[in-house]
């Protein structure tokens, strides 16, 4: 569950990465957008200003041309101020010369030439590129005296420009007019010259002011009238205006660019960038999901592995519990010593050895299951139970092995695993060893009399589990007192060092020869050390099992100094003081060193009698359990009872220096126990008084 949470945390971490990446990208694109926006606007302004300057020059070129024409015509009119008819050819000359004007006119103050009437205005208009139409157009219908250009001329100022107006008499288009006064002999203004500039033409020459598709431009007079406007409206949009004033005419040229137009490209790029960012984020999301999935898999895998490892640990402890842990000599069978060890290559292995004594016979076996690990260990466990069950009522090795083979070759063995096994029965009284070898390494017989190692001759039998109904042959050999039989699995002779050299049979027999006169446990420990030294840093490739037993000399047994044997002993006593002598007998059976007899006797008696006197009320039935754990270096006694809580260690110590008259009768018992034992501990547990005494040897 924990690891699932971890996975979710990691996935959430991935989501965070995604969010942070999105925010960072967004921030970057925002900054990019605003900086680009500023530079694009600057660029637009620069471009607008450039075009405006150009337009200003272009327009001025034309206005100056018109002004020059107007002044020239005014000069001509002044020269022929008394000859009204000459003005026809003069206007015609000007229109013919100044290609960009649509029409020119000279309008005289009313009744200047009485012969010509109240109105007299001579006008030449361009009809086409090579045709000019000249006529008098002044009349009451065309009352030029009220027109702006005429009034401008009367102001006696050169080259004033009118507001745009429809030229109804001349070109029939919208025009602006430049006016110049014509002076009479006395310097008074007698007429006004007017040179028209067509707005259509102005628009035509300023078309390039539309610098963007969708931008606008305009030329306005000083009074705010549109001289040129294209297109007409920019209402309802955000826009930028760039303007330039033309000093001579007082006009203003403007370029108007809506924001949408300026930033169209930026918007397009922004859209592409956004799409790319979205794509990147989706890609990132995909990667995160994938890696989170992998992570979950890894976590699941490691969980599985942990579980497997813990199960292997359990399997190993179960397997180890199947192996013998207590080895002879036992009290009942003092003439046999035995020892064995299994060193699995993996956590659990397929090697086994087992033994037990029944009816003064040692039943033993050593075996090796093909393969290693859990499957082998399961077959090993089965083989061991088969050994135990068949030997419990049979005593012919060949028969037992055949029965075991029958069980291992039935349909349950689908894995086709086989077991090499050496099974033997040693008669402890006669030394006769009957055995059956099912394809296992032949054991080595250490013959004490001849001082030599002999590989036990074994007939070739198949391993167990190979062939159902195989006839196994039993054999027999005689073991003398002092002889040792050393059994092992191929993990010993095939143990390899880093150079892939095998330990081999020769090293085994050499080692055995050296430790010939030693007991089974010493032999095996020596062998273990030798093989470990040989293998060095190389990895153990196979399970390694050794088992050895020795038939001890009767004389050897008697002459050996009595040694305390490791073991557990117990005595149950009724709550009766008269039971005390059984304690002494039991202590005798522990075979403690002579010098311990009295102290142990005394201490135990004091404790037990204390329990009987104090923990159990008088005549109440009850029991006192006395246990001894003996080891070479110390003995641990445990005295437990189910009486009322009673802690003897809390009793007051007597003063042993007092004179006889002052000495108390009681309290001596526990005092003696303290003196006699090395440790004393009281514990009340599970409604029991438990007193532990330890005596070091």
């Amino acid at each position: 569950m924990l690891s699932r949470n971890k996975t979710f945390q990691k996935a959430r971490g991935g989501l965070w990465i995604l969010i942070v990446a999105a925010v960072v990208l967004e921030a970057i694109s925002c900054i990019q957008y605003f900086t680009s926006r500023a530079s694009i606007r600057n660029e637009a302004e620069l471009r607008a200003k450039t075009e405006l300057s150009r337009a200003e020059l272009e327009i001025e070129k034309h206005t100056i041309e018109m002004e020059t024409a107007a002044q020239l015509l005014a000069m001509l009119a002044e020269r022929h101020v008394n000859n009204p008819d000459s003005i026809y050819s003069a206007t015609r000359l000007i229109v013919g010369t100044i290609k960009n004007t649509s029409s020119v006119a000279v309008a005289y103050v009313p009744e200047y030439f009485p012969k010509k009437g109240w109105y007299f205005e001579v006008c030449s208009s361009r009809i086409s590129s090579d045709s000019i139409y000249t006529r008098q157009i002044g009349s009451s219908a065309h009352d030029y005296t009220q027109m702006e250009w005429f009034l401008n001329g009367l102001k006696d100022a050169n080259c004033l420009w009118s507001e745009p107006y429809l030229d109804d008499s001349g070109s029939q288009t919208y025009v602006v007019s430049c006016s110049c006064p014509v002076h009479g002999k006395n310097g008074e203004v007698v007429a006004v010259v007017c040179v028209d500039l067509s707005l259509d033409y102005l628009q035509q020459i300023s078309e390039y002011l539309q610098i963007y598709k969708g931008s606008y431009y305009s030329i306005r007079s000083s009074k705010g009238e549109d001289i040129v406007a294209h297109p007409d409206t920019v209402a309802g949009q955000k826009y930028a205006i760039f303007a330039e004033d033309i000093e001579a005419t007082g006009w203003t040229i403007s370029i108007i660019i809506p924001d949408d137009v300026i930033y169209a490209e930026l918007k397009r790029i922004g859209l592409i960038v956004s799409l790319l960012m979205l794509f990147g984020l989706v890609l990132l999301l995909f990667i995160i999901i994938r890696s989170a999935k992998n992570l979950i898999n890894v976590v699941n895998l490691s969980n599985q592995q942990e579980r497997m490892e813990s199960e292997l640990g359990i399997a190993r402890s179960i397997q180890m519990a199947m192996l013998p842990t207590r080895f002879p000599p036992f009290d009942d069978y003092p003439n046999l010593a035995a020892y064995g060890v299994v060193i699995p290559a993996k956590e659990v292995g397929g090697d086994l050895f087992d033994f037990y004594i029944r009816e003064n016979k040692l039943f033993f076996c050593i075996g090796d299951v093909s393969g290693k690990g859990v499957p082998a260990s399961l077959v090993m466990a089965v083989t061991r139970s088969l050994f135990r069950s068949y030997t419990s009522y049979m005593d012919s090795p060949a028969q037992i092995v055949m029965q075991m083979n029958a069980s291992l070759t039935d349909e349950s063995n689908e894995q086709n695993m086989f077991v090499t096994l050496f099974l033997g029965i040693l008669d402890l009284a006669s030394g006769e060893l009957r055995f059956c070898n099912a394809g296992h390494n032949a054991p080595i017989h250490l013959q004490s009399g001849q001082e030599r190692c002999v590989v036990l001759h074994c007939v070739a039998n198949l391993p167990l589990g190979v062939l159902a109904g195989f006839e196994y042959n039993g054999q027999a050999v005689s073991m003398n007192e002092g002889d040792t039989l050393f059994l092992y699995t191929d993990g010993l002779n095939e143990a390899e060092n880093i150079g892939h050299e095998q330990f081999g049979d020769k090293r085994i027999t050499e080692c055995l020869t050296r430790s010939e006169n030693e007991g089974p446990s010493e032999i095996i420990h020596t062998m273990q050390t030798e093989v470990a030294t040989f293998v060095g840093d190389a990895q153990q490739s196979d399970d390694l099992t050794m088992f050895a037993f020795r038939l001890l000399n009767k004389s050897t047994i008697n002459h050996q100094p009595s040694q305390i044997k490791t073991g557990h002993h117990s005595l149950v006593m009724r709550n009766d003081i008269q039971q005390i002598p059984t304690l002494a007998e039991w202590i005798d059976s522990l075979n403690l060193p002579q010098e311990l007899n009295m102290p142990v006797n005394l201490a135990l008696e004091e404790i037990v009698s204390n329990v009987m006197l104090y923990a159990y009320p008088e005549n109440k039935s009850g029991q006192v359990l006395v246990e001894a754990e003996t080891a070479p270096k110390r003995v641990v006694f445990t005295i437990s009872d189910t009486g009322i809580p009673f802690d003897p260690t809390q009793q007051e110590e007597p003063d042993i220096t007092l004179a006889a008259e002052d000495r108390q009768i009681g309290g001596l018992g526990i005092y003696l126990v303290r003196q006699l034992m090395d440790e004393i501990q009281y514990e009340r547990k599970d409604n029991k008084n438990i007193l532990t005494l330890i005596k070091n040897i």
């Binding site: 003081i577 008269q578 039971q579 005390i580 002598p581 002494a584 009295m598 006797n601 005394l602 008696e605 004091e606 009698s609 009987m612 042993i656 220096t657 007092l658 004179a659 006889a660 008259e661 000495r663 009768i665 009681g666 001596l668 018992g669 005092y671 003696l672 003196q675 006699l676």
Partner: protein, 100 residues
Amino acid sequence: MKTSIETNADQLIAHFEGRLDTAAAVQTTEDVKPLLNAANKEIVLDCTNLEYISSSGLRIFLAIRKEAAAKGSKVVVSNINADIRQVFMMTGFISLFEIK
């Protein structure tokens, strides 16, 4: 455990034989009663055949010692084995009795 008392003119000798443990103490307490009544005598506790003594036995010895002192008698413990001597040492009894 067996206790026998030998009576002389000015001497009472108690012969202990066997193990004087808690179980035996009850009977021994009965057996040594004659010693408790003796006045102005030498009381000898003969331990030649006494194999073992526990605190119950020590109490009997102490009771005899106290009673004797009160009645002007003198108590002698004779021929104790090494184990019993060790117990006497540990308990301070060695200085309460005259040991022979």
